[in-house]
Symmetry: C2
Subunit: 483 residues, 2 copies
C-alpha cells in the first residue's frame, strides 16, 4: 500500500491558512454535536519516526474544546507492565461523547520484534468498539527515507532538540525499506471496513494538518448523520437452537452432594493452609489470578468468597462486588469497568458477579439487544484468552442450587431479622424468571467454557460442600500452575 | 464447551416416529420456500469418529427434494491437492436456493497436526458467505469415549463393516480426552455470531436426527422471515477520505516512457527466451502462477497478454477472459467464478480482467452496495494471501494510459474497419466516468497492493514500452522465486 503513495503533496501557507480557518470552526461545532449525540471517538496516530506526530496532534486539537478530549502516549507505566497488553488501552478508551487521541497505540504491539498481539486480536479489539458505536480513526503518517534523514539531521543540529533523536530513529532510517514493508503489512492486515486506515502524506505539514482535520470532520459528519437516521444496523444473528433441544448443562448436575461439619472442618483447615502458602507464591512469581463468581440468588457466593479470603493476605487480593453500572461505567463499553479492576501481576481479584451479567440479566431484562449479547460470548472469550495468555489464572464458578432450595433460603432470609437486608423484591422477580435464567446459564456455560478459563459448576444445595468445592478447586488449580 | 454437555439425551422410537413425521413435512415445504427465496445453505458435519455422520446425513436428506441439495465428502482428490486448501471448498459452495452438505469440512484443516489454516482464516472464510446471504449450519456430533469404543467394537465384530474401522479411529478413542480438548478449542475459536456451532448429542440416533432436522428447520424459518422483512442489514461502513485529499496513485505516474522498435525487439527476444525457460521450471517445481490484468479500456491488456503467451507452452497456461457474470455465476459469491479458474500447481492462469471488477465497475455502476465493495478489499486480500501462502505467485497489472491517449485509440478503432469490433457504446460511457474510475483505481491499488500480491502500474501510453515492462516484470519476479 505505502509504496504506491505519491508523497509529494503540498499546500501553500496561504492556502493552508484560508482552509484551516473554515475547517477549525466546523470541527469545533461538530465536536459539540458529537458530544451531545454521545459518540465516542478514538484517533490513533502511527507512522514513521520524525513524521511529526506530536506537531500534528497539537495542530489537530487546537480547534477542539479541551474539556472534550484527552491525549495519551504509549510509553508504558509500571502499572501497565504489570497488566496484560490490552489493559493499558482498554482502560483508556473514551466514554460516550469524548475524543481520545493516541500518540502511538496497540499497533506498537504488532511492530515489536516479538509481537505481543496478532492481527486477528487487534481486529477483534477494534471491532468490539465499533460494534459498540465508537468511531475509530487510524492515521498513518508517511514520509520518505530522504525526508526522514533530513529531519533527523536537522533535529540533531540544534542543541535544543538534539536529545530527541535516538539510536532507534537512525536505525529505522537505515532500514527504511524493511520498515516500510513492516508498516505495509500491518496496514493491509488491519484495514477493515469498520476501522480502515487513512494514510497521511506527511512530507508537507500544512497538507498533513489539513488532511487530518478534514478526515476527522468527515468521520464526525458521517457518524452524526447515521445517528440522526437512527439506523442502528446490527450484525445479523442466527437462531440455532430449536425449542426442546438445548444442550442443557444445569439439568445434568447432581445436587445431592453433602459434607458433614466434621469432614468440612478438617478439609477446610488443610485447604486454607495450602492456599495461604500459594498466595505467597502468587506474589513472588508475579502471577495474576481472577476468581469470578456467578450463581443463583442465595446460591452462596458470599459465603464461598469469605472462606477463600479468610486465609489470604489482604494486601494481595481485592473483592469486587458488581452491581448495576453507574453513569460513568454506562458511558463506556460494558467490559471497561471490569478491565479497570483486573488484577496486576501477583494479585488476586475476586469478582462477586461479573461481566457475565451481559449474557444473564442484561439478556433477560432486555438491557442488551440480541446482537449485543450474542456477540458477547466471543468478546468475553477473547478477553479471557488475552488474560490467560498474559499468564493470568482465570477460574469461573457457578453456584448452583435448585429452585426449592432457593425458596427455602429466601424464606429463611425474610424470617430472620438480621438477614432481611439480603432479600429484596427483585430477588423474587428474578426467581419468577428461573426458566429463562436456566436457559441463559446453559448457553453461557457452554459457549464460554474454555481450556484457558473454565467454568466450575458448584453443587451448592449443601453450603458446606459448596464452600469446600470452591476452596479445593482454587487450591488444586493454583498448585497445578505454581508448584 | 464439550465437557459440559450432558450426552445422555434420549428419545423413544415412538416419540421419534411421531415427531419426525411432522418435521419432515415441514422441512420439505421450507426447502421449497428457501429455493424460491434464493437462500443458499451450507450444512457441515463435524464430530467424533463413529458418531454417525453418514447415517445422520442420510436421515437428514430423506425429506428433502434431491434436486435441491448435494452431499460432499472431504477426501481430497488429486485436483484438490494441486490447489490451495480453500479451493476445494470454495468451488463447492452452493448457488442461491440450494443446500450443500459437507461430510467433514474446512475444519479438518484446523485439526491436522500441522494446521493448514488458522482460526482467523476459517472465520473470515465463513464470514464472506454469511455476509453474502448464505446460511451456514455447523453441527458437531458428540459421543462419549465409552460409546465410541462400543461402536468401534461393534463395527469390527461384523464382517461386513470390519473394514470401516481404521487405526486412526482407535487412536482417537485412546486419546479421547486430548481430542475432546482439541475439538473444544476449535469450537470456541470459531463460534461466531454469524456462524455459531450447534453441538448435537449423538449417543442416541433418534434424538440426534430429530435435533438436526429441527435445527435446519429453525435456520430456514429464520432466514425466510428475514428475507420477507426485507431487512438487509449491512455492516456499517465508514467514510474516511475527505474530498480533495485522496492518496492519488495514478496522478503521480509518469506516462512519457517510450521504447524504439529496435530497443523493443531486442529486449523482447531476450525476455521471451528467459520466460520460456522459466515456464519449464514452473511446471517442474509445481508452482502455480496468477497474472491478473486490469486497465483502462484500450489500455493494451490484450497486446501485453499476447506477448506473454507467444512463448509459453499452451499446455501449461490458460487465458481467462472475464466478462459480466452469467446466471450460474451470479447465483454464487462473486469470487466463486475466479476460484474455479485458479491455476493448479505448475500452471499459469492469465486473467484478462479480474475479481477487481467488484471494486471498479460494480462499485461505479452500483451493482455492488457500498458495504459490499468496501469489504471486498479485505476479502480479496485474504484470497490472494491464501493463494500466496500455498506457493502461488500472484502479479497484478494495471495498464495505465491517459485520457487523451484513450481518445486517440478509440477514434482509431472506430475508423479502422478491422478494429471496429473492439469499440462499443459502453466504452464511451465508461470513458465519461473517467474521474470516478480514477478514484476507484486509486483506492483499489492502495488497499490491495501487498507484499504477496503486488500491483504493477504499467505506463502504457507507449505500447512497446508497456509490453516490455509487463514481460520484464513477469520474468524478473519469476526468476526471483525460481532461480
Amino acid at each position: 500500500m505505502l509504496e504506491k503513495i505519491d508523497l509529494e503533496k503540498k499546500m501553500t501557507k496561504e492556502d493552508f491558512k484560508e482552509k484551516m480557518e473554515v475547517l477549525e470552526i466546523k470541527a469545533g461545532k461538530l465536536q459539540r454535536e458529537c458530544r451531545e449525540a454521545g459518540i465516542p471517538i478514538m484517533i490513533i496516530f502511527e507512522g514513521f519516526r520524525a513524521a511529526g506526530k506530536g506537531n500534528l496532534i497539537n495542530q489537530l486539537i487546537r480547534p477542539l474544546d479541551p474539556r472534550g478530549f484527552q491525549v495519551f502516549t504509549t510509553v508504558p507505566t509500571k502499572e501497565d507492565e504489570l497488566h496484560p497488553y490490552f489493559w493499558r488501552f482498554f482502560t483508556k478508551t473514551p466514554p460516550k461523547g469524548r475524543i481520545h487521541l493516541f500518540d502511538e497505540s496497540w499497533y506498537q504491539g504488532l511492530l515489536s520484534k516479538t509481537p505481543v498481539v496478532s492481527y486477528d486480536e487487534v481486529n477483534q479489539f477494534e471491532k468490539q468498539f465499533t460494534d459498540d458505536g465508537n468511531v475509530i480513526i487510524k492515521l498513518f503518517l508517511c514520509i520518505s527515507k530522504k525526508e526522514q534523514k533530513k529531519r533527523l539531521e536537522a533535529l540533531e543540529k540544534e542543541k535544543a532538540s538534539k536529545w530527541r533523536v535516538s539510536k532507534e530513529d537512525w536505525k529505522e532510517n537505515k532500514a527504511y525499506e524493511e520498515w516500510l514493508s513492516a508498516y505495509d503489512n500491518m496496514i493491509v492486515h488491519t484495514d477493515t471496513p469498520y476501522a480502515p486506515w487513512t494514510v497521511v502524506e506527511a512530507m508537507n505539514r500544512e497538507y498533513a494538518s489539513c488532511k487530518i482535520l478534514s478526515t476527522l470532520i468527515s468521520y464526525m459528519e458521517t457518524a452524526l448523520a447515521k445517528k440522526k437516521e437512527g439506523k442502528v444496523c446490527e450484525e445479523p444473528v442466527n437462531d440455532f437452537e430449536p425449542e426442546g433441544f438445548d444442550n442443557g448443562v444445569l439439568a445434568g448436575v447432581e445436587l445431592d452432594k453433602v459434607l458433614t461439619r466434621e469432614e468440612y472442618k478438617e478439609k477446610r483447615k488443610n485447604l486454607q493452609k495450602r492456599l495461604s502458602v500459594l498466595h505467597n507464591k502468587i506474589y513472588k512469581k508475579r502471577v495474576p489470578v481472577v476468581l469470578a463468581f456467578e450463581g443463583w440468588d442465595a446460591g452462596g457466593k458470599g459465603g464461598a468468597i469469605k472462606r477463600l479470603t479468610e486465609c489470604l493476605d489482604p494486601r494481595g487480593y481485592e473483592v469486587v462486588p458488581v452491581a448495576s453500572p453507574n453513569d460513568i461505567e454506562k458511558a463506556h463499553h460494558y467490559l471497561w469497568r471490569f478491565w479497570e479492576r483486573m488484577p496486576k501481576a501477583g494479585h488476586i481479584t475476586i469478582f462477586d458477579r461479573t461481566w457475565y451479567g451481559r449474557v444473564l440479566v442484561e439478556r433477560i431484562e432486555g438491557f442488551a439487544s440480541k446482537a449485543e449479547w450474542k456477540r458477547a460470548y466471543k468478546e468475553i472469550n477473547d478477553m479471557e484468552e488475552h488474560l490467560a495468555k498474559s499468564g493470568c489464572i482465570v477460574l469461573k464458578f457457578w453456584m448452583h442450587i435448585d429452585k426449592d432450595e432457593q425458596e427455602k433460603r429466601f424464606t429463611l432470609r425474610q424470617e430472620t431479622p438480621e438477614k432481611q437486608w439480603k432479600i429484596t423484591e427483585e430477588d423474587w422477580r428474578n426467581r419468577a424468571k428461573w426458566d429463562d435464567y436456566e436457559k441463559a446459564v446453559d448457553e453461557m456455560v457452554l459457549r464460554t467454557s474454555t481450556d484457558y478459563a473454565p467454568w466450575i459448576i458448584v453443587e451448592a444445595n449443601d453450603k458446606l460442600y459448596a464452600r469446600f468445592k470452591v476452596l479445593e478447586t482454587v487450591v488444586e488449580k493454583l498448585e497445578e500452575v505454581l508448584l
